[in-house]
């Protein structure tokens, strides 16, 4: 049931990502902290969660959906675990390996996206697609693509860093196409089939060039979370 943290190397782009969510009301995800965590640790984690929400409008929407989900309390622990953080679908909890990882905004953003996939987007959750199982690479590529879309510019895309340069550039061009050259979020309520074809092509590349995520692809498992976040109603200026 474990999902790992993405390799996030470098980044870039001429135009930095905007801070779209900063002026929005605070997100209040309900957490259930492990007993060992002291008040400072809890405060630091809550602050980092808010920082993740404030990154941009897409992360804000993800966090708000989790905050508004009735009776959802996400467990939070700092303990020995695989990687820097893991989301456990069976227990609805995130375990960070260290205090440092627990306040790392990108690690938190990544794991909260898995929580969103599990609790909001996939009707049956994502518990069947755990580490090494069929579908694991689907779930992780969807997360990686979410990251690259929220960064808006293809040059900042990292999911295919280790792919052949021509494939990586195709992927970067695809991100620019999806975001109209970094000016808007995609609308997956339209042209879904065109998107889907490319999605599965690049998913295969991701699987083949990311040793951590090399598990069989499920060709029928659609990126439900992306479909839900980028449904045409959301734009980088937080118009919704």
């Amino acid at each position: 049931m474990l999902l790992l943290v993405l390799v996030g190397q470098g980044g870039g782009s001429e135009d930095p990502p905007y801070g779209g969510g900063g002026s929005q009301p605070k997100t209040k995800i309900t957490f259930s902290f492990c007993a060992e965590l002291n008040s400072t640790q809890k405060t630091n984690i809550k602050n980092a969660v808010q920082d993740a929400a404030d990154l941009n409008c897409a992360t804000y929407v993800v966090n708000m959906a989790l905050a508004n989900k009735p009776s959802l309390a996400i467990g939070i622990c700092v303990d020995e675990t695989l990687g820097n953080g893991t989301y456990n679908a069976a227990t609805k909890s995130i375990v960070f390996s260290t205090d440092f990882a627990s306040t790392h905004v990108e690690v938190i953003r990544h794991e909260l996206f898995h929580a969103y996939q599990d609790n909001i987007a996939y009707s049956g959750g994502i518990g069947d697609y755990s580490l090494g199982e069929p579908g694991f690479s689907n779930i992780e590529f969807e997360q990686a693509l979410f990251h690259d879309i929220m960064m808006l510019h293809g040059s900042s895309a990292t999911a295919l860093n280790h792919a052949d340069p021509a494939v990586k550039l195709d992927y970067q061009a695809w991100i620019n196409t999806l975001t109209s050259n970094g000016t808007e979020y995609p609308d997956f309520s339209a042209n879904w089939s065109t998107f889907e074809t490319k999605y599965f092509e690049f998913l295969e590349e991701f699987k083949n060039t990311s040793p951590y995520y090399n598990a069989p692809v499920i060709g029928t498992l659609e990126p439900e979370a992306l479909k839900r976040v980028f449904n045409g109603g959301l734009q980088p200026d937080c118009e919704n």
């Binding site: 790992l4 943290v5 993405l6 390799v7 996030g8 190397q9 470098g10 980044g11 870039g12 782009s13 001429e14 135009d15 990502p17 695989l82 990687g83 820097n84 440092f100 990882a101 790392h104 905004v105 990108e106 690690v107 990544h110 510019h153 293809g154 040059s155 900042s156 895309a157 990292t158 860093n161 280790h162 052949d164 340069p165 021509a166 990586k168 550039l169 195709d170 970067q172 061009a173 695809w174 196409t177 050259n181 490319k198 040793p211 951590y212």
Partner: protein, 175 residues
């Protein structure tokens, strides 16, 4: 074959060779192109209006080193990496000075995919992305590539970058 025919044949061959070399320096074509000692591999995308120019050093033709840890390393935080983006922009604008207006009219955007080491030096430039109808020539790119590799530096803060054997950084320059 009389002497006239021999001279004609030699002259024709010389012309073909000369024209091929000139064309290789003036226009990107699919496949390998060597300009001023630098070999590029050019691929025209089948799906997008983009041309990939693979500029990897021969030692990285099989890929860049991946982290050896059993799980992915911590991502580099936004703001923990700075790249000399003024320097690289100036290099492009310097080399392409005579055609900046035309590049602007053509709405050209170039993607550069850098690979840095921990000291902030360029380990490699994996590729460049150009529109298929770019006005930039292989010869100009060879000049730009040579200068970028020497002059562009990155700097890092934090500790996360140390977990990555190489650090990727992509960038766009608009004309």
């Amino acid at each position: 074959m009389n002497i006239f025919l021999r001279l004609l044949t030699i002259s024709t061959i010389a012309n073909v060779v000369f024209c091929s070399i000139s064309e290789a320096q003036e226009k990107f074509v699919q496949g390998l192109q060597t300009v001023d000692g630098k070999t590029f591999k050019v691929t025209f995308s089948k799906s997008f209006d983009i041309m990939s120019v693979d500029s990897r050093l021969p030692i990285y033709k099989d890929g860049y080193p991946q982290p050896q840890s059993p799980t992915p390393p911590l991502p580099i935080r936004s703001g923990d990496m700075e790249v000399d983006t003024v320097v690289d922009r100036n290099i492009f604008f310097d080399v392409l000075e005579s055609k900046l207006d035309a590049l602007n009219t053509n709405k050209e955007v170039v993607i550069i995919n850098y690979v840095f080491d921990h000291d902030g030096n360029i380990l490699d430039i994996s590729s460049y992305g150009f529109p298929k109808n770019t006005l930039i020539t292989p010869k100009e790119l060879a000049m730009i590539d040579k200068r970028l590799r020497k002059e562009v530096k990155a700097s890092f803060k934090g500790r996360e970058y140390l977990e990555h054997p190489v650090i990727f950084y992509g960038r766009e320059i608009r004309f």
